[in-house]
Amino acid sequence: MSASSATAPRSASPPQPGEAILDVDHLHVAFQTPDGPVIAVEDVSLTVRKGEFLSIIGPSGCGKSTVFNVVGGLLTEHEGRVSVAGETIVGPHPSIGMVFQEESTFPWRTVIDNVAFPLELTGMPKAQRLERARHFIEMVGLQGFERRYPGELSGGMRQRVSLARTLASEPKILLMDEPFAALDEQTRLLLGDKVLQIQQELQQTTLLITHNITEAVQMSDRILVMTYRPGKAKRIVEIDLPRPRTSEIVGSEAFGRYVAQIWADLREEASRGLTDDETSRNRGSAS
C-alpha cells in the first residue's frame, strides 16, 4: 500500500517543486501507414513532479492519446526515453494507473467487483478487498450503487467507476486520457471538482490529457500546450491559482486570463487542424 494516502494534506500554497517522478525525454512517435509514415508526436519532453497535477492540452488529432499510450507502456515503438522514478518504461508500469478515453468498465462485473478488480489481482482476501473497494466507491460518490452493473448506470457514473478502479490500485501516477470528453458540461464540471478533491486528498501525482481549456486551467499546476500535427510541445503554462480549487474558480478574473492565453496558443493550432481537414476532405472528394 502506498504511503501517499496516509500523508497529511499539504498546505494550500502553490506546489513546491518536488522531485521529478515521471520524465519524458525527446519522445518521437511515427506510425507506419499505407501512405507512408505519419509523425504523431515530435520531440515532446516533459517532467512531472511528485504530487503535481500536469495537463497536456492540444487540438484533436495532435497526438495526445499517443503520448498517453507511450507513458502507459501500451505503445513501445517510439524514440526517446520515458522513465518513472529513473526506471525506463518498456511496458505497463505498476506505478502508473490509467483511465481511458473510452468507456472501459467491465459490463459483467458489478460496480464493487469492478473497483475491486486490481485488488483481486494482488491476491487480497475478499472481505478486505471489498472494504477497500467500498472506500474508493465512496470517494467518487457512488455509494449505494455497489451492486449495480455498469449497464444500469449513466455515462458519468461509469467513468467514475473506471476512476475508482484505477485509484484502487493506488498508482503513484494517475494517467487520464480525456476522461470526461463524452460527458455534458455540468457533469464534467462536477466530476472535475471530484477529481480535484481526490487529488488533493491523496496528494495524487496526475497527468491529465484533455482538449478542454476550462478543465485544464481549473485543475492543473502546469499545462503543456501541444501543436497540431506533428504534435510538438509548444509552451508550458504555470497556473498560479490558489488551492483548494472548485469549479467556482471558473468565474474569476485570473482564471479568464489563463484561459485567454491558452486559447490564443490553441486557436492557431486548431485552425491549422481545420484547414488541414478541409483540404484533405476536398482532395478526397475530388479523386
Binding site: P92, M98, E152
Partner: protein
C-alpha cells in the same frame, strides 16, 4: 436486444397466438370445403384429436427421453469442442486465416446427407445420430466463440494490460467473460442445428426417438398421427429453446 422488448409483452404474445389460430382455422376451412385434399393434409381438428392416441399408444415419453439424451450428449460435446476450437482459432492467427472460411462454409453444408458414411463408421446406433448432430452443429459454436473473443473491445484488453495481467489472467478475467454472451448465442444456435439434424437422422435411418416415430406413423399412412407427432416435436423444441433463453438471461445479468 433492448430492455423494453425483453419483458413479457402480453399484447405481442396474444397477437402471436392469434396468428397461429387464424392459420389453423383457414387450413381447417380449406380442407373441410375441399380446396385441399384431406388425404394429403389432414384437418387440424383431426390432428388435435390424435394427440392423445399418439401420446398414449406410442410410448412417447420413452422416445422423447431418447431424443433428449442424444441432444444432450451432442450438446455437451458441442460446447466443449466448439469453444475449445474457437479459442484455438483466436489464439493462433495462422490457424484462423487457414480455417475460418471453410468452417463458415461447413456451417451451411447439409451434413445430414453424409449419413451413410456415419452409418458405416458408427453402425445403426445412437452414436451415428449423436455424431451427425455434433458435426453439423459444431461450426456455429466455433465461429461464434471466435467472434466473441475477437470482438472484445480493445480498451478492455488495454485495461488488463495496464494492470499488468498475465496472458492467462487476461484470457480468464477479460476476454472470456467479454465473449461469453456471444458464445452463448453460438451454443444456442448449435443446439438448434443439433436438434434438427438428430430428429432428421432418426427419421432417415428409422432408429431412436421422435424422428423414428414420425417415420413409423408415416409408413402406416396414419397422417393425422404423423402431423400430431410433428407438432409434438415442434412443441418440445419451442419449450427447449425458451428455457435455454431463460438460462442464458439468468447467467448474464444486466448486460
Amino acid at each position: 436486444m433492448s430492455k423494453a422488448s425483453r419483458g413479457p409483452n402480453a399484447l405481442a404474445f396474444a397477437v402471436g397466438i392469434g396468428c397461429l389460430v387464424v392459420f389453423l382455422l383457414v387450413m381447417e376451412a380449406l380442407i373441410q370445403f375441399g380446396f385441399v385434399n384431406r388425404f394429403i393434409i389432414p384437418p387440424p381438428s383431426e390432428v388435435a384429436m390424435s394427440f392423445e392416441r399418439v401420446i398414449v399408444e406410442e410410448d412417447i415419453l420413452h422416445r422423447f427421453l431418447l431424443t433428449a439424451t442424444e441432444c444432450l450428449t451432442a450438446g455437451v460435446m458441442l460446447t466443449v469442442f466448439g469453444v475449445i476450437g474457437g479459442v484455438l482459432l483466436h489464439r493462433f492467427k495462422l490457424l484462423q486465416q487457414a480455417c475460418e472460411t471453410w468452417i463458415a462454409a461447413a456451417a451451411s453444408a447439409p451434413v445430414v446427407l453424409m449419413y451413410p458414411l456415419f452409418l458405416v463408421i458408427f453402425g445403426r446406433s445412437a452414436w451415428t445420430i449423436i455424431m451427425i448432430g455434433f458435426v453439423a452443429a459444431l461450426p456455429p459454436v466455433i465461429l461464434k466463440t471466435l467472434e466473441g473473443l475477437s470482438d472484445t473491445r480493445r480498451v478492455l484488453v488495454n485495461v488488463g494490460k495496464s494492470f499488468n495481467l498475465t496472458p492467462m489472467q487476461s484470457f480468464w478475467k477479460i476476454l472470456f467473460p467479454a465473449a461469453l454472451p456471444t458464445i452463448f448465442v453460438g451454443i444456442r444456435l448449435g443446439l438448434i442445428f443439433a436438434l434438427i439434424n438428430i430428429v432428421g437422422v432418426e427419421f432417415l435411418i428409422n432408429f431412436g426417438g421422435l424422428g423414428q416415430l414420425i417415420n413409423e406413423l408415416a409408413e402406416r399412412y396414419d397422417l393425422a398421427g404423423t402431423y400430431a407427432a410433428i407438432c409434438f416435436v415442434i412443441l418440445v423444441s419451442v419449450v427447449f429453446f425458451m428455457s435455454l433463453e431463460r438460462i442464458e438471461r439468468w447467467l448474464r445479468p444486466a448486460h
